[in-house]
Amino acid sequence: MATETHGTEAGHAADGLADATGVATHSADFAGMPQLNFDHWGNQIFWLLITLVVIYFVLSRIALPRIAAVLAERQGTITNDLAKAEELKRKAGEAEQAYDKALADARAEAQNIIAETKAEIAAELKLATDKADAEIAAKSAELEAAIAEIRASAMEHVVEVARDTAAEIVKVLGGNADAAAIDAAVAQRTKG
């Protein structure tokens, strides 16, 4: 720093320092800097130190602890809220899982019921079919028997008619119908 040259300047100014005009003249000089008027340094330094001490005590005793507390509290609140949100999220997830599980259970039960019903229906159907089959078989056996009977009686009638007819024909021809011969002839003819 140019303290040496300045010292002389200040000394020069000190001549007229008793009155403020001297100081002002010195300071108002375009090249002169009021900053380098060392006569005012003591005053500025004194008040500066007081200012700094006051600010230091205000900050360190009141302002900074308070702001630190507020920030800590806010951090705590945020952390709490985050934890709460996490908890709620977990609960929501659990609820979703429970819902999914209930849905799956319901679906499985529905499948069971469907399978059961199907089996039941199938069993019933089988039973009914069997019964119907049996009935049909009985009926057709009955009909078969009836047909056989009809056929047998028809054959008997044919034989009887043939015998009667043969006897009549023989009689018309003037023969004497031998019943046994006719029977044998009819039996032979109807056999084929």
């Binding site: 720093m1 008793a18 009155d19 403020a20 005009t21 100081v23 002002a24 003249t25 300071s27 108002a28 000089d29 375009f30 002169g32 800097m33 009021p34 900053q35 380098l36 008027n37 006569d39 005012h40 340094w41 003591g42 005053n43 500025q44 330094i45 004194f46 008040w47 500066l48 130190l49 007081i50 200012t51 700094l52 006051v54 600010i55 230091y56 205000v58 900050l59 360190s60 009141i62 302002a63 900074l64 308070r66 702001i67 630190a68 507390a69 507020v70 920030l71 509290e73 806010r74 609140t77």
Partner: protein, 252 residues
């Protein structure tokens, strides 16, 4: 004040950009003694009031969701706190109130100095040199208290070749002692220059022809000065942290 002579010289234009920095007694009288209440005293007092208003009254509601003033207070706190923690390390947090005091005083004074007709206390070397010396003395004392003579290892660059070390040591010592000078002159110089330039432009505004340009230039400079006010406070604070880091962890 001797303005007449000056005005005549400039041919109608009146330039005294440095008048705004003159320290004057506030309540009459002409002598500026040690305890005289001056305009510097007044604006330091206003800075104290502003700091209290922001940091104490602004945060008085201790709201979880901060009001605007509380937000600003918290931002200032967070800015400096993080700076101290990041730059100087966790163990430097003991000095946080001290650094916060410097930052709040400088930033408040800088901004108050931008009010028209105000007095910029931080544009005075008397103020900034004291601030810088406080840092210098603190850092040096802390260094020696914490590390004893090992603190001198700061000047002995053990990573350099042995032959270079004495040379580097001389350079390191010089740079160490230049620190408070650059630290203080940077702050006062920036503010003084900006304010003086604004005053020069204001002087030109007396000429009707150039006054629109001049007013525009003042506006632009004012915007720049707002930036400078904050940045210089920030720079002063971060350098304080850097110096403190050297004291706490002197190994290179």
């Amino acid at each position: 004040m001797a303005t007449e002579a000056h005005g005549a010289e400039e041919g109608g234009l009146v330039f005294h950009p440095m008048d705004q920095f003159i320290v004057k007694p506030l309540f009459g009288g002409s002598d500026v003694g040690m305890f005289t209440i001056t305009n510097a005293t007044l604006w330091m007092f206003i800075a104290v009031v502003a700091v209290i208003a922001l940091m104490v009254l602004g945060t008085s509601r201790r709201a979880i969701i901060p009001s605007r003033s509380q937000s600003i207070g918290e931002m200032a706190y967070g800015l400096v706190y993080k700076m101290v923690e990041d730059v100087a390390g966790k163990d430097a947090l003991a000095f946080f109130p001290y650094i916060m005091t410097l930052f709040m005083f400088i930033v408040m004074s800088n901004f108050l100095g931008l009010i028209p007709l105000s007095f910029t206390t931080t544009s005075h070397f008397a103020v900034t040199i004291v601030l810088a010396l406080l840092v210098f003395v603190t850092v040096t004392v802390v260094g020696f208290v914490k590390h004893g003579t090992k603190f001198l290892g700061l000047f002995w660059v053990s990573s350099a070749p042995l032959a270079l070390r004495p040379v580097l040591a001389v350079i390191e010592v010089i740079s160490y002692f230049v620190r408070p000078v650059s630290h203080s002159i940077r702050l006062a110089g920036n503010l003084m220059a900006g304010h003086a330039v604004i005053k020069v432009f204001a002087g030109f505004a007396a000429l009707a022809v150039v006054s629109p340009v001049s007013v525009l230039a003042i506006t632009a400079m004012y915007g720049l000065e707002i930036l400078v006010s904050f940045i210089q406070a920030y720079v002063f604070t971060i350098l304080t942290c850097v110096y403190l880091k050297d004291a706490l962890h002197p190994s290179h």
